[in-house]
């Protein structure tokens, strides 16, 4: 050690002072509260008022939840047990749980099938939603729709298998002719698919018992399961349809352009509930009595058309937001129309459109409850019709509607959280 200062300075501290904690008002919770809750008199008043209201709501609602009764078999029993005290009668949820989820005519011994289909749905959409999931899983995603159809509706496995075969044939035909031109490949693919599906239709008809599980008609679907089916099917169908419509609307070929414009403008000008009434009531007049076109199929077509028109407009916004230079750059690279769209334009346009598309998807999912108006028993239809009209549960409202709110909130909130995550993943600019 140096002794330079040994004579000049009386004392030199040889160790560092330990760090002092900051003053209480400048650290931790207190600082956070000072900055966020009580900054100025105006904010302080607002905070106190909000706390008061939260307190009132919590203390008001708490006994209702805490006294909740879960095990009775009718509302009258609930009231008897509560004996005038505040309390919820959640027994309606436990007693009618399966009806709320699956509708009242779906055979109970087959409940495992839609449940399994739902679990597999999560597996199937994982590679689509998460880029990091193993790519091999996409194979399963391709099979999933056919598997799910078989699980939910039952019947012989050959029916969905033949349709799957048709799609595979279509894919190979497309690959064969794609070298000549994209449009040619598309036409060849569609023709091949239709031919194989049509010809293959004979097979399940002649062997209805091969690998068959109990067939369940569409009329027996219900409950939240119906909302999930309509929501997932319609969103996944309307997205590609919407992309095609958006591109068609920008096309320089007049006939395609006008077909797309008229379709989009017509659908956007009509309320969804009208389309559903058409699907349910008016179509029945056009078809002979025996031609019972599946009601769920009719509804899926209508909802898909409806949301496709909206998604098309959202994507058109994304396309319009791209600078003209992007189109020109694609052209100058010598890419044809299909390539430039697939490789350059759409990836950027879709990225811009994500919030809008998710908005439509969330709205669509909630709109599936409108089918209750045409006497289909989705979650809302189950509550409004059979459950509230039963002698046991006539008069239970808050519990049932609260449950519906809760279930829909979980799904819709997850969708919007996912889309925010996806936006962050795809953010390549530096803002």
């Amino acid at each position: 050690m140096s002794d330079t200062h040994a004579q000049t300075v009386a004392f030199v501290r040889e160790t560092m002072l330990p760090e002092q904690p900051p003053p209480a008002s400048e650290a931790g919770v207190i600082k956070w509260m000072r900055e966020n809750l009580f900054k100025g008199w105006f904010n302080s008043i607002l905070t106190i008022l909000s706390l008061y209201f939260i307190f009132k709501i919590v203390t008001g609602a708490y006994p209702w939840f805490a006294n909740g009764i879960w095990t009775t078999s009718s509302l009258a029993e609930c009231r008897e047990i509560l004996d005038g005290a505040t309390g919820a009668c959640f027994s309606v949820l436990t007693e009618r749980w399966n009806q709320l989820l699956f509708g009242f005519t779906y055979p109970p011994e087959a409940y495992w099938r839609p449940t399994l289909a739902f679990v597999l749905l999560i597996v199937a959409i994982a590679p689509v939603l998460y880029p990091k999931a193993p790519r091999q899983m996409l194979f399963f995603t391709g099979i999933y729709p056919f598997l799910a159809y078989w699980l939910i509706w039952g019947g012989t496995l050959l029916t969905p298998l033949m349709v799957l075969l048709g799609f595979v044939a279509g894919y190979f035909a497309f690959k064969q002719f794609e070298r000549q031109s994209f449009a040619m490949g598309l036409v060849a693919g569609v023709i091949a698919a239709i031919v194989v599906i049509w010809a293959g239709g004979v097979v399940p008809a002649s062997m209805p018992d091969v690998l068959a599980i109990q067939a369940i008609p569409s009329r027996d679907l219900g409950g939240f399961m119906l909302n999930m089916i309509l929501g997932t099917v319609c969103v996944s169908l309307s997205l590609p349809l919407g992309i095609l419509l958006a591109l068609g609307r920008q096309s320089s070929m007049p006939i395609i352009k006008w077909i797309c414009v008229i379709f989009i403008e017509f659908i956007r000008g009509v309320p969804l509930i009208t389309l559903l009434f058409v699907a349910n009531v008016v179509l029945a007049y056009f078809f002979p009595p025996d031609a019972n076109i599946d009601l769920v199929l009719r509804v899926i077509i209508m909802i898909t058309m409806f949301s496709a028109a909206y998604i098309a407009e959202v994507i058109r916004g994304g396309l319009a937001a791209l600078p003209r230079g992007q189109y020109e750059a694609a052209d100058s690279l010598g890419l044809d129309y299909a390539q430039s769209m697939r490789l350059i334009i759409l990836p950027q346009a879709l990225k811009i459109s994500i919030p809008g598309i998710v908005n439509v998807a969330v709205g669509l999912f909630k709109d599936t409850t409108l089918v209750s108006v045409i006497s289909m028993f989705d979650l809302v239809g189950m509550i409004r019709g059979p459950i509230l009209a039963s002698t046991e549960w006539n008069g239970v409202y808050w519990e049932l509607w609260g449950f519906a709110v809760f279930v829909f909130f979980i799904v819709c909130f997850s969708i919007s959280k996912y889309s925010q995550w996806l936006e962050r993943q795809l953010a390549t600019d530096h803002r």
Binding site: I197, R219, A284, Y285, I374, S375, R384, A389, E392, G395
Partner: protein
Amino acid sequence: MKKLAILGAMTAAGLSAGVASAATLDDVKARGKLNCGVTTGLVGFAAPNANGEWEGFDVGVCRAVAAAVLGDPTAVEFVPTTGKTRFTALASGEIDMLARNTTWTFSRDVDLGFEFVGINYYDGQGFMVPKELGVSSAKELDGATVCIQTGTTTELNLADFFRANNISYEPVPIETNAEAQPLYLEGACDVYTTDASGLAATRAAFENPGDHVVLPEIISKEPLGPLVRHGDNQWGDIVRWSLNALIAAEELGVTSANVAEMSAAAGSNPEINRLLGTEGTLGEMLGLEADWAVKAISAGGNYGELFEKNIGENTPIGLARGLNAQWTEGGLLYSPPFR
């Protein structure tokens, strides 16, 4: 594949549609199931229970017809309909008959082209008000807000009643009975009006039924009954006489408990014998088996049994027979003779 099959079926069926729609009985027999339109849910009249089986007074009529035609009271496909979809469902052939507490009116019978085959419940429109309102007659309801189901005859009756008495009201339109209850209880409307049977059922579900009164005025005739399409009289006859069989059975003292015994051999009462097919050929005339009425009665009992089980005084709904008693007991139920 499915779509193509459907298209094919459409063309084939389109060609034969004109012929096929005439003989509903053959269609039902070929199908092995009766398509019966019911409500999406009305307490006591039709609602699925916790096991998903439909129960109720209207459901009982469907089951009786299915039993008479097919011999199996469970061979019914219940098609739920709303007030707005019921008539199109029947007219388009989606259902074979409608038993959905539907009021028999002139225009529905004549203009819409339906055939009401009888009356299974005599109802009338009434008013319910909170006791604290202090109203004792519907004529004191000037300026009241009224909860009313849209698309029903009650809506029209209400307008007629208030116009005839020269008083004003403000309608609060609602879709189903289930929606009306919370609205009424929360005070969104002062008065709830619907069929008196519906009012009784609604009131019975309240936490404090005593706080509400049903006003004495019944402002309309609401004869509720099953109906079928115009143009197939044989089918209309089958539904009509299945209902009459239930009513006559009560009058004649035939119940689900003793029907098997009484139909085993011809008894001393010739009308019972004809009804139960131990004498005469009534079943053959309808195109059914001789024991069609036996099956219909065994399905859920006679009219009185159905009434007591679903909406009678021992159920939470607690309706008295009133107008719906047999004509021998001062009611309006009067089945034409089985002869």
